[in-house]
Amino acid sequence: MNLPHPGLPSFDYIRAQTLEQVVDLLLKHPTDVRLFMGGTDILVQMRDGLLEPKTLVDVKHLPGMTTIEFDPDVGLRLGAATSMNAVAQHQAVVENYPLLAEAANTVASYQLRNRATVGGNLCNASPAADTAPAILVLEASLIAFGPSGERSIPAEKFFLGPGESAFNQGELLTRIDIPLLPKGCHGRYLKLGRNAGGDLALVGVAVLGYPDETVDSDYRFRVALASVAPTPIRALKAEEILAGKSITDETLQQASDAAMDAAEPIDDVRASARYRKAMVRALTRRALSEVWAMLREEN
């Protein structure tokens, strides 16, 4: 039996003033200091007794942390502490990266999305993070600030294991940079929960497709999965299949099978591995069909 605390255990709260101060704190107290943005992961974990930091450093008020900027020549720059709602409602996101808005909107509830941040979602590095598959197929970069300044980490290198990410000692996430997307692309994020909305993903599938004459099928697809492996993953084999031969129902099915094979889920209290695998196939198939239909309509 694992009873949570009836309230939050004690800690000190510090509202960070500068990035350098944060780096300094992280370096000096690597185990006792935790960063805090929306708190929707960390406060729950603290209440559950999983984490007992002595200090929470609130970094969401630092300059740029909640800025959303779109440059038509470069792409989107998303402050790490932008809330799910801010992202999902931002015009530039809705127009240029609807997949990201769709993913953000699947998270929990409206009120939780006012606090939950995209950066927190990624930093928490849960395999079930709903924005992670989107970030993977959008081939975003995570911008970390650390002792030696800024560094860019490609999304596909970011997730190392459940709760583990590629930050070095003393680093924090400040921004997520999303490049301009290929012309004519379309995307979908499909999520399956136990009930019709608001649940954590049993399976999440993001698909981005776009015309690309350099490949045999004339189309490229990027496929990423949540909740079916120790980290969010790209289903590269499926992507290869889709690039390799002309897109037919059969190709879509083969790619979905490949996505299923890429999944290495576990049995847990939420679902069996067997069901999860089958759902990867079903949802991938569905997402691919929908994206393919949109692509065809335009070309």
Partner: protein, 156 residues
């Protein structure tokens, strides 16, 4: 553990408090200020009974630290009625039996107020979606959705 001096508005009234770091907004409201309309149903952001407006946006007050509300405006269910006049949502909840045990009601009213403030004519689908973070075990939601739709129609 350090404490923090904060000042904020609750339902239009200026308040100051000295709060420990680990106090949540929910606990501050209920146990320090005795503003108990806002309810505690889970303390983990799942049930929505603790929903309040923070600078006009709904949040789960069980997952907001009290120290974070320094300088903000908080509105709880007690602040919905203005000058003795019920909010149209409150009227509609009474008329449509949107209430049974009433424990979820404060949080749902706040979530609904926020919905109508950002979308004055929501569809049924949009109402359901806006309420998915507010559990109600009694009503089956139907009448709550009816009430919100009605309030929207009368321009609430």
């Amino acid at each position: 553990m350090a404490t923090h001096k904060i000042s904020f508005n609750v339902n239009g009234i200026r308040e100051t408090a000295e709060v420990p770091s680990n106090m949540t907004l929910l606990t501050l409201l209920r146990e320090r200020l005795a503003i108990t309309g806002t309810k505690r149903g889970c303390d983990t952001g799942e049930c929505g009974a603790c929903t309040v407006l923070m600078n006009a946006e709904p949040v789960n007050s069980c997952l907001v630290l009290a120290v974070e509300i320094d300088g903000t405006d908080i509105v709880t269910v007690e602040g919905l009625a203005q000058d003795g006049q019920l909010d149209p949502l409150q009227e509609a909840f009474i008329q449509h039996t949107g209430v049974q045990c009433g424990f979820c009601t404060p949080g749902i009213l706040i979530a609904a107020r926020a919905l109508l403030d950002r979308n004055s004519k929501p569809s049924r689908r949009e109402i359901k979606d806006a309420l998915r973070g507010n559990l109600c075990r009694c009503t089956g939601y139907t009448r709550i959705i009816d009430a919100i739709q009605e309030a929207a129609e009368v321009g609430g």
